[in-house]
């Protein structure tokens, strides 16, 4: 299980393992990326006489459901990490599979929500930024799911570094945070 070490032999063993540091830096860049999208959203909103334009009404119930699922999945991932720390590999895998299923259901929910919207990406500025941000958000949830699947695959092969699990968890929590924030900005605060 922990036959692979987190640290580079002969190098500084304190602080974050390299993989986790890499993921943290990637998350920092992702924050900047989403900031640019939200900057576009608020700029378009400030330039628009009416927001959402044309009296568009969005039903937030599916968004509430997917956000709740994602927050729950984040808790599950945290427990999966604790399981790994207790050397409970089987427990870790069960919990991580559960998180993967929750993530996929959430993406499905987001897809159904987008499919039912009364506007498209080309309707107006609101629609463009709404669709783009939502689609990128869902793509990120899928990315976190893929990362978790990599962890599961390496665990099945007996080659999992604990730091990779930590990295996957950091990315998962970030994605859930962004997803909830996106929901709040696009649907609750409009």
């Amino acid at each position: 299980m922990s036959s692979q070490t987190d640290q580079v032999p002969g190098r500084l063993a304190d602080g974050m393992p390299p993989v986790v540091l890499g993921v943290v830096l990637f998350v920092a860049s992702e924050c900047v990326f989403f900031s640019a999208l939200f900057a576009a959203w608020f700029t378009a909103r400030a330039r628009s006489p009416q927001w959402p334009p044309g009296g568009i009404q969005i039903d937030p119930s599916l968004g509430v459901f997917t956000s709740a699922l994602l927050v729950l999945s984040s808790v599950v991932v945290a427990f999966a990490e604790y399981a790994l720390r207790r050397q409970d590999t089987a427990g870790m895998r069960r919990l991580l599979w559960l998180a993967v299923v929750l993530g996929l259901v959430a993406v499905l929910g987001q897809g159904i929500h987008l499919g039912g919207l009364p506007f498209t990406i080309s309707s107006n500025g609101f629609g463009t930024i709404y669709w783009t941000t939502s689609a990128i958000d869902s793509a990120h949830v899928l990315g976190a799911v893929v990362f978790a699947l990599v962890v599961l695959a390496r665990s099945a092969a007996g080659r999992l570094m604990p730091s990779l699990m930590r990295g996957a968890a950091v990315f998962w929590h970030f994605v859930v945070g962004v997803s909830v924030f996106t929901f709040l900005v696009l649907e609750v605060l409009t």
Binding site: G10, V32, S35, A44, T128
Partner: protein, 562 residues
């Protein structure tokens, strides 16, 4: 020196023998990847340089030579190639090779990610260049690609898929740069040899660390802007639609320059680091004010996020006093660096190698580029000079006189380490003079063009500017000849025997403590690091030991005579 004993044949014992082509295509060795980065970027440099010659050929004649839409493609692709496919990746290549060596590491933190980043680079570059195959030609909206010019909303602006592949290719290059920057930061933070504290790292490592931080925090906004441009062009989006409800064209400028200004420092900081390695070595002195230089680098990095709207003074949509003051403030840490460099050379016994020529050329040309940039930081001056040839002159003094001269300083300095061979010094100095004179001939007259009101990015001009433009064109051709001299130098010296010792320049940093070129995994034992000049420490220790042995051998005679 124990670390000297490793030869290239001391590969890891279980490494299977592979055909050299397979070996290079599949390598994860940071040194091979660094070399591939440099070769690929240099090929793009030659393409970008050829486009520059064509741009200057057009401008020999007030009424131009090529159709105007061809001219638009020429200058757009010239800038795109030079910025994203030459200066950025070639500094990544240099850093890929030397940073792990400088910090005493065996490789980068994530060698496979490193190889992946590299292979995205030629892919992205080819995607961008494929625009020339489009019936309407390659991208033609300038390297800044402002909407509405870069969108479909205005009739006739950026038609065809040349602009689309420009966007997609740059997105690919962005992923490559981002992964490379993260890899570099983790390498610097986690893989330093014992004893290599942060304040013992070579200055080049520091400047590349700050460069990588800027990439991580600035590049994603450019990716977002490109993606939005793609949505607007291909999915009917309204990100940058000037109509109410859209984000407006100024939104693009804000997002683009939030990346674009840190990008300027991404381009120049590595070159500043290179000459900070070279000046002390050939001045036979330590860098004056090592820590001050580091703090100045950090200050430049931080300030670079607060100046983006100085590119947008004429829009009237930015708070000019703030951005003007911040812009002027950047001159302070830059001035600190000039003081560091000058004081390093003060009363020194300078060795005038080709690398040193280029380093001095950097100082002179970058100084001109820095000062004429400060003028642009003043809004009333900028209102007059915006989008004139003054700006073209400024950007070429800092990017060619600064970044490119720094890069070639690094080439002449590290060439023996990379190849085991020396470049010819006389050809190197000839290269320098062609470039130094050529750059000033090409770019100095542009100051006057700009002050007199000649607009940039326009393929025709009033006949009154003809003489100055012809001087610029002659200068540009001299730059082309200089580049060919460099190519000739590389080809001619490639046949000479590998005579470079470990430490030909009597340098300071750890890459000179191993063989030239270094073996796989770089070092056979961890070098002793007790200061920011470990190789000099080793040299001194060896010299002291040799003296002691000599004194001991001589001592019986001395006693006999006493």
């Amino acid at each position: 020196m124990a670390v000297r004993e490793a030869g290239p044949e001391v590969a890891q014992p279980d490494a299977p023998r592979r055909h050299p082509v397979v070996e290079w295509l599949t390598t994860t060795d940071h040194k091979k990847i660094g070399i591939m980065y440099m070769i690929t970027a240099f090929v793009f440099f030659l393409i970008g340089g050829l486009l520059a010659m064509l741009v200057r050929t057009q401008l020999m004649f007030p009424s131009g030579l090529f159709p105007l839409n061809t001219y638009n493609q020429l200058f757009t692709m010239h800038a795109t190639i030079m910025i994203f496919m030459f200066v950025m990746p070639i500094t990544v290549g240099i850093a890929n090779y030397v940073v792990p060596l400088m910090i005493g590491a065996p490789d980068m933190a994530f060698p496979r990610v490193n190889a992946f980043s590299y292979w995205l680079f030629p892919l992205g570059g080819i995607i961008v260049l494929s625009g020339f195959a489009s019936p309407q030609g390659a991208a033609q909206a300038g390297w800044t690609s402002y909407p509405p010019l870069s969108e479909h909303l205005t009739a006739g602006s950026s038609p065809g898929w040349g602009e689309d592949v420009w966007v997609l290719g740059l997105l690919v290059l962005g992923v490559a740069s981002l992964l490379g920057a993260i890899n570099m930061l983790v390498t610097i933070f986690k893989l330093r040899a014992p004893g290599m504290t942060m304040y013992r790292m070579p200055i080049f490592v520091w400047t590349f660390m700050v460069t990588s931080i800027l990439l991580v925090l600035a590049l994603p906004t450019f990716s977002a802007a490109l993606m939005a441009l793609f949505v607007d062009r291909n999915l009917g989006g309204h990100f940058f639609d000037p109509a109410p409800g859209g984000g407006g064209a100024i939104l693009y400028q804000n997002i683009f320059w939030f990346f674009g200004h840190p990008e300027v420092y991404i381009l120049i900081l590595p070159s500043m680091g290179i000459i900070s390695e070279v000046l002390p070595v050939f001045s036979r002195k330590p860098l004056f004010g090592y820590r001050a230089f580091i703090y100045a680098t950090l200050a430049i990095g931080m300030l670079s996020f607060g100046v983006w709207a100085h590119h947008m003074f004429v829009t009237g949509a930015s708070y000019s006093p703030f951005f003007s003051v911040m812009t002027a403030a950047i001159a302070i840490p830059t001035g600190v660096k000039f003081f560091n460099w000058t004081a390093t050379m003060w009363q020194a016994r300078i060795k005038m190698t080709a690398a040193m020529y280029f380093a001095l050329g950097f100082l002179l040309l970058f100084l001109i580029g820095g000062v004429d940039g400060v003028f642009l930081g003043s809004p009333p001056v900028d209102f007059q000079l915006h989008a004139t040839y003054w700006v073209v002159s400024h950007i070429h003094y800092v990017l060619f006189g600064g970044a490119a001269f720094g890069i070639f300083t690094g080439f002449y300095y590290w060439w023996p380490k990379w190849s085991g061979r020396f470049l010819n010094e006389r050809l190197g100095k000839a290269h320098f003079w062609f470039w130094f004179i050529g750059a000033n001939l090409a770019f100095m007259p542009m100051h006057i063009d700009g002050l007199e009101g000649m607009r940039r990015r326009v393929g025709t001009y009033l006949p009154v500017f003809a003489d100055l433009n012809r001087i610029s064109t002659v200068g540009a051709y001299l730059l082309g000849i200089g580049a060919l001299i460099f190519v000739a130098n590389v080809i001619l010296t490639a046949r000479t025997p590998r005579t470079a010792p470990d430490d030909p320049w009597e340098a300071n940093s750890l890459e000179w403590a191993t063989t030239s070129p270094p073996p796989p995994w770089n070092f056979t034992s961890v070098p002793r690091i007790r200061s920011e000049r470990p190789v000099r420490d080793m040299r001194l220790a060896a010299a002291t030991a040799a003296e002691a042995v000599a004194a001991e051998a001589a001592s019986p005679d001395g006693e006999g005579q006493a």
